[in-house]
Amino acid sequence: MRFRTRLLLIFALTITGAVALVTGAVSALTRHAFETTDGARRQALLDQFQSRLAEQGADVVRRIERVAASRTMLNIAVEAGRPDGDVSSYVDEAQSQADAASLDFLDILRADGTIISSAHWSAKFNYKNDWTIAAEDRRQPDAFLTSVPTPEGPALALVAIRAVQAGGKFIELAGGKRLDSRFLGSLGLAPGMRALLWLDPHQVLDATSMWDGPETDRLASLVDRARHSHHAENAVVQWTPNGASAEAMQAMPLEHRGVFMGALIAGNSLRDEVWLERRILWAGLTAAVAGIALGVLMGWWATERVTRPVEQLAAGARAVAAGNWESRVEVVSSDEIGELAGAFNRMTDQLIEHRERAIQAERVAAWRELARRLAHELKNPLFPLQITVENMRRAYEQTVVGRDADFDEVFKEGTQLLVAELSNLRAIIGRFSDFAKMPPPELEEVEVNAKVREVMKLFDAQLRGEGRSGVATTLDLYDGDLRIHVDPEQLGRALRNLVLNALDAMPNGGAIALRTRSSEAGARIEVSDTGQGLTEEECSRLFTPYYTTKQHGTGLGLAIVQSVVSDHHGRIWVESKPGCGATFVIDLPR
């Protein structure tokens, strides 16, 4: 995987992760806030239910006591107390009394609990009342919850019991009000909330009527939990596949003497919460997508900035590895990448420098070997030739007979010329031999400026002599102490050769300038002249032995200079243009 791809992936994953983290955190906080509010609202509804239950219970007690105090009830009690009493004519009395007292349920009971008249189930006369049979209920002064059987099924009611005494006998009134939709409607439900009254899976009431909502099985498990735990239980019910249909439900068991009568279920719609969570999710997704897109763009831009120099470095490295040592990396910044690019460029420069030095060294070594062989090969026949010529001159001088004056003259001149040329040839061979046998430098600390002054002092006489008019010298030396480790003799020789070379380049006068500078690696020495300058080809061949642009030169001067510089692991080059003079630059390590 490419570095840029990895960077892009890291950017995208980082942004996505951050957005997901923020979205999740916001959703969790929102959910927690909603749950807290929901719980409080449901609890408030349950509290309100209990309060209304107490109020209605007191109301039921008042109504039952009013019925019990009526003359009709007294008559029934008297009739029921007689041994042969017939109360069958009162079979409809409970209905009348219940209507008058606005009671939903009323049973007039004999002392043994047999129904004389029932308002809500008139057909139950002569049967035992089966919803107030507990002795505790009969003694209870307050209203209590119970399940009242009716022809339509059991109904949850708030009931009270009162006795009507008549001469030691008594009848009882058991009546109450139904806990139904009206009761739920009186709770004053907040928007989004609803109250359900669970009697059984087939009887679930809401605030308006019999609940016609989705299947009640969804609530059955919640009610069962509340029934068995005997306290309120919570659950979230999702009525349809749509999450907005979810509803937080809290079921509170309604019990009387530990018997489960039903449950009040407070429901709070989670539509707003789901809606908000969806909005947050969508916002998060949108932000994630936007973030990813932005991240990709930013990443692309950033990686472009980061990887392009790296890729350039890599390309440069590959180019260097392929032999293109001239390869360079553009330095566009000053950061680490820029430093890296600079270091790379310096590395390649140093590589080139080292290579050139190596080339120069190899070249000098090669030329030295050539010079040694040449000197050796030429020196061997040269000596017999010189002996032979001298023998010929000696023999001719010893010969008296037959000597011709003209011949003598020719002979003398010829032999003199031969001897002279042989001597000259021997001198050349000697230089070659000297070039080939240059000793290794003996390094010692040398103050460069002093050495330059010393060299120039050798030329004072020459520069002031006749025939040498119009050559000015300029010394532009480094202000400080410029010390390097060199062989002083070889450095002096090199400088002398350069000054001689400059003088030779200005037969008609000019100016010679010597400059010294301190460099990072060591010292730099420049020798400039104002001669006619060199062409590019001449510059490239200038340090080749036996190459000279002068009529009388041997072509070894600059080669010796280069040899010295090379032996000192330095570097020399020439900067020149035709007509603009030339400058020889030497860099020497410290």
């Binding site: 069958s88 004519s89 189930w121 008139s122 057909a123 139950k124 006369f125 002569n126 049967y127």
Partner: protein
């Protein structure tokens, strides 16, 4: 002496006043109300109290259930009762003024048949109206709403005491009671369940012999298992219903015909056997139960029956729109003759619930046993018709009394301030 004379005169005057109060008066209009809604006027559709007033039969039953002459003055039968000869009454004038000229060839049925309302004499006039020979003739007929009868001046018998009778139809019991309290009716129907209460208040109540049988009948088209039918029959606590809901009006019934018609009704059991019922009803499916929900008495009894059945393990579920498997119905006793009444009951049962037709047996007891076999019909109560009468109404025919028909009813003269 003088004091004695004065006291004697006062006593004689008081006796004369009391005698005058009990002496029948002619004239007046009897205002009746009924729940029934008649759309046609014929001898069958009229209430029993009215039908003999307009359309008369050849014979009639007297209060002792003996056949006595009416339009036929005499009849003869050969020993095998195959050939019957009726002697029509002479100089009988129809309500349209024409003389009744009977075709004796059409009167060949048994004497009992000739006393049935469906065999009453009704002559269709040229304009399509039915006219009879009774003491009252139709003065005004508003189908479904009201009927006005006036006395027939050319009646062959004695003049009825009443000048006219007005009948308002389609009046609920509640509306009738309201009209009665407002003095707008002289005779209204009441529920048998209200008889005792009204009597305790001192109201004048008239009861007929039981003429209706309340019964549970199973629909042959939607049969219920035999055991469930028997369980239902055994679960019913007739005594409680009779004493509480019916307030002891009417009779507990184990038979279709009441005792006064058949004479053997007591032979049919009415005891409750809840244990046996529970045993039979084990794992019984609910029965769809139907009854006339507008009839308060039927509704009260039906609810009690449902409670009784539930106690035995049989669930009676209201058949709202679905066809009921068992229904609580009123069956009419159309004649005081057991055989005729049973035949009509069988027809009514066939018409209502598709019960099997009567087998070819002769004795009414066997006929009834056959009808009740298998608990497809469960008789519950025999109910009379009950009327609350204004104090002005006198000589209303009572069950077991010698009083005859409404023709014998007379009204006390209305005094100012009797009613608003």
């Amino acid at each position: 002496m003088r004091r004695i004379c004065l006291l004697s005169i006062a006593a004689i005057s008081l006796a004369l006043v009391l005698h005058a109060a009990r002496r029948p008066h002619y004239g007046g209009t009897l205002r009746m109300e009924t729940r029934r809604v008649l759309q046609t006027l014929d001898s069958r559709s009229l209430d029993q109290e009215l039908r003999g007033l307009v359309f008369e039969t050849l014979l009639r039953w007297d209060q002792r259930l003996r056949l006595v002459p009416l339009l036929a003055t005499a009849w003869q039968a050969d020993p095998a009762r195959h050939n019957l000869t009726y002697v029509p009454r002479q100089k009988v004038i129809l309500h349209n003024g024409a003389t009744w000229e009977p075709d004796l060839a059409q009167f060949t049925d048994q004497p009992d048949e000739m006393a049935l309302a469906r065999n009453a004499i009704a002559v269709k006039t040229a304009d399509g109206q039915l006219v009879g020979t009774g003491p009252f003739k139709i003065a005004k007929w508003n189908a479904g709403k009201s009927l006005a009868l006036t006395w027939h001046e050319a009646y062959w018998g004695p003049r009825p005491y009443l000048d006219s009778i007005e009948v308002r139809m389609g009046r609920s019991l509640r509306d009738q009671a309201l009209d009665f309290d407002l003095g707008q009716a002289d005779a209204i129907e009441i529920s048998p369940a209200d008889v005792r209460r009204l009597r305790q208040r001192g109201a004048a109540i008239a009861l007929t012999q039981p003429t209706t049988t309340l019964a549970l009948v199973f629909d042959a088209a939607h049969p219920a298992p035999d055991a469930v039918r028997e369980a239902l029959a055994l679960s019913i606590d007739r005594e409680a219903i009779h004493s509480v809901i019916l307030q002891r009006t009417g009779e507990i019934a184990g038979s279709l015909l009441p005792q006064w018609v058949s004479g053997y009704a007591f032979l049919f059991p009415v005891t409750r056997d809840l244990a046996r019922a529970r045993q039979l009803a084990a794992r019984a499916e609910p029965l769809l139960f139907g009854y006339d929900r507008d009839d308060a008495l039927l509704r009260a009894i039906a609810e009690r029956l449902a409670v009784n059945a539930s106690e035995a393990g049989v669930t009676l579920r209201a058949a709202d729109s679905a066809p009921a498997q068992v229904r609580l119905v009123r069956l009419s006793i159309t004649a005081p003759d057991a055989a005729l009444a049973l035949a009509d009951l069988a027809q009514e049962l066939n018409r209502k619930v598709g019960q099997a037709s009567l087998p070819a047996v002769l004795r009414p007891y066997d006929l009834e046993r056959s009808l009740l076999a298998g608990f497809r019909v469960i008789p519950l109560f025999h109910l009379p018709r009950a009327y609350e009468l204004s104090p002005r109404v006198k000589n209303w025919p009572q069950a077991g009394s010698e009083a005859g028909t409404l023709a014998d009813v007379w009204l006390l003269p209305e005094r100012p301030g009797d009613h608003p």
